[in-house]
Amino acid sequence: MNHKNLNITFFFRHFLLLTGILVFWQIFSRFIYPYFNPTASNILPPPSSILSMGWDLFKNGRLFVHILASLRRIVMGFLLAAILGLPLGILMGISKNIRLQMAPLIELLRPIPPFAWLPLALLWFGIGDRESIFLIIIAAIFPIILNTQEGIEKIDVRLINAAQSLGCAEKRRLLLKIIFPASLPSIFLGLRIGLGFSWMVLVGAEMIGSISGLGYLILDSRNLGLPNLALLGMVIIGIIGYVLDLGMRKLSNLILLWAES
């Protein structure tokens, strides 16, 4: 009884406003707006119609095609970005010469928004998966490189000194046993930021240069004049983005048991 009571106060504390907005939205776009504009098409569909749209698409399976297409791209692109970015970041962290050479290059490329690469990617790779994957790599690689490098730079020198005086003089061993684990929290932060960015960029890339995926779905729904499909797509994109972020956080908590979160 007490537990249930607690849940109710928790709900009122956190979600009263949100529920109020949803209820108002439902009433407004179901009854008030059509009453005053009986002939206008409803550009703000009520939540119930979004849900029923979702149920329809769920039943005929069209939704899964798009979700799977997007997920495939983000997994491939993100893995490639990590495979390219982690070694580069580590090299930049441990070698001053490489850092000095790479830093201006990265500072030059980083302010260019990933979306701006899209026409070039379309020109080079054509419409399809490879173009989105290229864009995801561009979006995710800079946070991964920079955070990895920063993580290594910020390692406590005493850790390295201690390891060396305890007989871990070999460079390879030092790297594997000390430098890499000590920089892992920062690496995971970089991966998380990179994943968030690449999800956003993927949606944009699919809107312009693709014929499948969630980004395509929402732009297509605009062309079809189905606002409830567009809103449904946004909700699904938001949920998947949240789940990706949550997964990354859980993974880093699992691996980095010792680190403070």
């Binding site: 956190h14 406003l17 949100l18 928004p113 979306f115 701006a116 899209l118 020109l123 930021i193």
Partner: protein, 272 residues
Amino acid sequence: MGRILKFITSRYGLILFLLLSWEVTSQWILAGWHTQNPKVLFPPLSSVLKEATFLFREKLLWEHILASTKRVFVGFGFAALLAVPLGIILSLSPRWNWQIRPLINIIRFIPPVAWIPISILWFGITEIQQYYIIFIGTLPVIFLITYDNAKRIPQAMKKAATCLGAGRLKMFLRVTLPGALEGIFLSLRVGLGFGWFLIVASEFVSAANGLGYLILEGRNIIKTERIFVGMITIGLISYFFNFVLMKIKYCVLPWAEKETKISGIFESQQSQ
């Protein structure tokens, strides 16, 4: 002279080498391939520069820059006007924070580009739609950084101020606001960078001018040089505004710590 050369090669050697090999590759090496027109796929640096001077002379570049800048600043300005006070107020009132946080989280996890289709349905292809995309994208970024930094003001300082007889207003003006100011500047810088990031995608889909449109136009008329010019220009501009905001910060807040490197949009989610 030798010293300068040494400095350049030690610091910018790789970049100079890459620029040179860009020119050489697309001018001579790729040109040997006859299967496709390689200069379309990868134009040499010299023709990119030629296109840039052409666009600059014809005042086209300027026009696009102005259009994009206006959009970014209007959207960003409204977002800042809403998000900065909201961040500070919510950091003071946990009750409202609990209520409004879920809304902000919903906005945060929906990528701003996903708003493009529905916003076109709502506003049509107008300037307001562009402003809206920038607004909705930069709002959570500015809010979250402001909130976090306002929350980090040490409780001891507030207690000390209370002991010394500060009322609510004085506390706000003398403790909370100055304490949050550095965070506000950071949030504005990150938010503005994010706005530049978004304007490209927004202008791809629905605009008839602006730098994003310039890039897309370069693709549509198969003038790859133009794509490169647009990309480089937008990078330079977002770098420039970042730099300006940082300089302003040092003038307004002389006590703030110097940042060693100019950080860009990618720090935006570190504090979230």
